[in-house]
């Protein structure tokens, strides 16, 4: 029971991160119809910014806010400068540009901050002894804090989607850009905001995730998370924010339990499993669990 709970806690933490990044991917997909390959690298870049500030003795909470703002700007500028001019050409061109951005951001991380790994200070008490005991299992404050912050963030996003004027505009833009534009919605600005929000979510996820383990801030940190999050987004349905969050959590928990209990899977086969999951989902139910079917007018 104690072991199970510890696996579960770990799984929920990973799952919350997958869910956050998957939500970010879905927001971009709904607006622009593309997967943002650079989503993970954007999150990593802003996490590096936060880490750089913590080394200058800036309080962690302030670093988090600055990183989030930087993420927002990075996302919005990417949409305006790189994506909007190219997406008219073709999906292929957009994907290649995003791949280029992935490469640029990742290399910049290495050039600006070096190739070694760093330990990031946590927003929450993060000592060896700062945990509460639940059913015999240790639940660290850093994990609990991550759950709460991401839950609040995701909740706020859903409030935004469903109960505000801006959210209405975003949904209208997602469902039909031309009609939205005709009814007076500033589609361009909405798309920019969508990319900004999604990169900001990534920044929060990165800053909260990195302190959970020592030496985990490195140039390769976010890529595996991007793979898992894409699998989650696909599993939940690429156009369904709720689906992304549920699938992200499920994947995190399933992964932790599987690698905990089934020895064959342990450690380094996780991406291969994500691959199999992606292929199976696409073959059996291409629209995912909660996504809507793609209908094309001829």
């Amino acid at each position: 029971m104690q072991l199970f709970l510890e696996y579960l806690f770990n799984g929920i933490s990973n799952g919350a991160i997958y869910a956050a990044i998957a939500l970010a991917l879905v927001m971009v997909f709904r607006g622009t119809g593309t997967i943002n390959f650079a989503q993970g690298e954007m999150a990593l870049f802003t996490t590096y910014i936060a880490w750089g500030l913590t080394t200058k003795n800036v309080p962690v909470i302030l670093c988090l806010l600055i990183a989030t703002a930087a993420g927002f700007v990075l996302g919005a500028v990417t949409e305006r400068v790189l994506i909007r001019p190219i997406e008219r050409k073709s999906l292929l061109a957009t994907l290649i540009v995003l791949l280029g951005l992935f490469l640029v951001l990742n290399s910049l991380d290495g050039i600006l901050w070096g190739n070694q790994n760093y330990t990031m200070p946590s927003l929450f008490p993060n000592a060896v002894s700062s945990f509460i005991t639940l059913g015999g299992a240790r639940l660290y404050w850093a994990n609990l804090g991550l759950w709460i912050v991401l839950a609040v963030l995701v909740g706020a996003m859903f409030q935004l989607f469903n109960h505000t004027r801006l959210g209405l505009h975003m949904r209208a833009t997602a469902s039909n850009r031309e009609s939205a534009s005709l009814s007076g919605i500033p589609v361009g600005r909405i798309l920019m905001l969508g990319w900004g929000f999604s990169a900001a979510i990534g920044a929060v996820a990165g800053v909260l995730l990195t302190p959970l383990a020592p030496d985990s801030l490195g140039v390769g940190e976010m890529f595996p998370i991007l793979i898992q999050a894409s699998a989650a987004a696909l599993f939940g349905g690429l156009d369904s924010p709720g689906g992304a969050v549920i699938a992200g959590l499920l994947m995190g928990v399933a992964e932790a339990l599987l690698s905990g209990y089934v020895s064959v899977i342990g450690g380094q086969l996780q991406e291969a499993i994500a691959f199999v999951a992606i292929v199976v989902v696409l073959l059996v139910r291409p629209q995912g669990l909660f996504g809507s079917k793609e209908v094309e007018r001829v």
């Binding site: 593309t34 790189l82 990742n106 290399s107 991406e271």
Partner: protein
Amino acid sequence: MTAPDTRSRTSLPLQVDQGSPAHRTLQVLGLAALAGLAILGSRTNSFQVGLLTQALIYATAIAGLNLVTGYTGMLSIGHSAFFGIGAYTTGILVSERNWNPLTTFAVSLVICFVFGLIVGLPALRIRGINLALVTLALAVAFPELVDRFPGLTGGSLGLNVNLFQLLPPHWTGIGIQNRFEYYYWIAAVVLALVLVLCANLTRGRTGLAMRATRDRETAATAVGVNLAWIKVFTFGISAAVTGVAGSVFAMYLGSLSADSSFTLTLSITLITGLVIGGVATVVGPIIGGLAVIYIPHWTESLRQGQTEGLFFGSILIILMFVMPDGLMGLLKRLARRVVQIKPRAPEKPSTAGAFLVDLGATADAELEGKGDTTLALS
């Protein structure tokens, strides 16, 4: 997407009819020039020959990727895996089974074709984005799988082939110290065969169907293109070509390590080469292969580390904006100022056929005629 403008230039462009003796002469001259360059390349010092061999191998792999991504419009980020499967097929057959390296190429071809079909299957139900995701995950999963089966692949320690099994045969007259020249010629011949295959495949009916699929799926179906067949078949052929490139790579290198050679980075390198050379062109992959080998070689002398990634990433972005048809597109436009090939009028096309021709020609600017020009002049 540049609107090709065939008439309104200066008086310079010479008009040459397609299939006329003048056109044929140009083609022969072009091929002779390519062959001359190949011979010139083999005469350089052994270090240069090594680099050129790698460039030829990458060009072959890029030519494979071009079929799927360039002509059919399906972005594959997983070609590093096919390259790796080809390389390991050759590596394992030579080192464990004592096969002649050249005969393993055929096995690679078949195995990679089958893998390509399997990976192409999801493309039937899904499009663009999702296929990109599947191939991305494949690229990431491949090195893990290799590490997972150390008995077969040598795992993370790598697979080493005994040098004596890779030596040139006696009749070539090439000694052990010049063996890289042998690999160079093998890479050159494989590339030449692959380019002929690609040229024939993409100029015929299949090529038109591929481009129609890329440009407008629904319309392509309407004129009778079998989407499922075209997509899966292209994926298979493309994987097979890239797999053979991997086989040559295994022969050239003699030792394989999935963690360093066949990762996502390789896939991105191939895509970069394709974009630099020019998507959906026959000769573009050669330029792309040279670029992705020589550019890092030069940037490394400027500054160590991630400069290469920064450079390639920026190149990918900038080229998509200012030169989406790559260097080959640029060369074609320049060549068109000097010589223009007038395509022959098609003989009595059926209505559906004519429509398909239009469809294929929309974005590709009559590759049928112009492809020959550039082949002849480059």
